[in-house]
Symmetry: C2
Subunit: 168 residues, 2 copies
Amino acid sequence: MELVEARQKFIETWGKLGSEWGINRTMAQVHALLLISPEALTTEEVMEALSISRGNANMTLRDLISWGLVEKQLKPGERKEYFFAEKDAWTIARQVAQERKKRELDPLLKVLNDLSEVKGSEKDPAYKTFKSSVKGITKLSANVNKTLETMIKAEENWFWGSILKIFK
Amino acid sequence: MELVEARQKFIETWGKLGSEWGINRTMAQVHALLLISPEALTTEEVMEALSISRGNANMTLRDLISWGLVEKQLKPGERKEYFFAEKDAWTIARQVAQERKKRELDPLLKVLNDLSEVKGSEKDPAYKTFKSSVKGITKLSANVNKTLETMIKAEENWFWGSILKIFK
DNA sequence: ATAAACTTTCAATAATTTTTGAAAGTTAAA
DNA sequence: TTTAACTTTCAAAAATTATTGAAAGTTTAT
C-alpha cells in the first residue's frame, strides 16, 4: 500500500472509530491527520487536507486542545498558529481516560449516590430491584473509577504491563 | 427521593450515558427500564413506560437481545413475549466488552495490520511518522485486546479485584 | 491610528440519526 | 380454513447533530 492511500485509510478508520465512541467524526479525523503529520499544521492546512470549512476546523481544533490531545505551536516571527498532536499512544489513552472520567464518570457517581438514598419499603419488589441494580452499578463504577485514577497516574507502559503479568 | 422519581432519574441518566458512548439513547433507556423492573415486561409495557412507538420498542428490544443484554421470556399459555434484562453489573460489563471487541476492536486490528505494511522510504519524515504512530496504536490496541479477552473469560469479581490489589 | 493577518462566532443550512405508525407478516387457537 | 393476537418491517417525518461561511473580533506591525 502507498503512503498516500494508507494515510487516507488511517484517517477514515480513526474517524469511524471515534464516531462509534461518541466522538464527532471530524474531530477524530483532524486528530488522525495531526497524529501522522511530522510537522505542526495550520488551520488552513487542516481545512485543505480534510476539505472542511474554516469554522469547523477552528472549533474542532479548539475541542482537541480542550481534550489535551493537541497543542498550539507558535513559530517565532509568524502570526499563524500551528497545531500538533501528542503522538504517544499511551499518553493519548490516559488523556482520554482522564477527560471522560471527569466529564462522565464523576457526575455518574454523584447521581448514583443520590439514587442510593431512595425511600421505600423492603416489601416492594420494585424498590428492592431498584436498590440492588443501582448498588451493583455503583460498585462497578467505583472500581472503574479507582482503576482509571491509577491509570491516569501511572507511568508509561507500567500499567498494562502489570495487568498482563498477572494473567500469564 | 421517591421511588418513582428515582426510577425516572435512573432511566434518564443511563440514557444520557449511553448516548455519550455511541449507544442510542432510547436503547439505553429501555435497558435501564428493564434493569429496574422486577418482572419481565411486554413490548406494550415498554412502549407505555417510555412513550415510544411500537416499531421503536420492537427494534430496540431486538438490538438489546443481539447485544446479549436482554432475553425473551415466554409465559406458558400466553402468546405475548416478555423481556427481561440481565441484572448483574459485572455480567453486563463483560457482555458489552465482548460485543464491542467483536464489532470494533477486531476490525481495527485488521486495518492496523494492513497499514503496517505501507511502502515508503525511511528518509521520508511523513513515512516515519506514519509508521511510528500506527505502531504505537497497534501496540496499545493489542494490549487492550488481551485485557478484554481476559476480562471476557474472567469470573465475577475476580478481575477488578486482582487489578486493584496490585496497586495497593 | 490604520491596515493587514489571522481567529472566532453563530445563524442558517445540510447531513445524519432516530422515531413513527400503518401495513404486512407470522403464529396459534377455534 | 379463518380469525385474532401478536410481531416485524420500512418509507416518511421528526429530531438531533454537524457544517458552512461570512461577518465580527482580535492582535501585531507600521
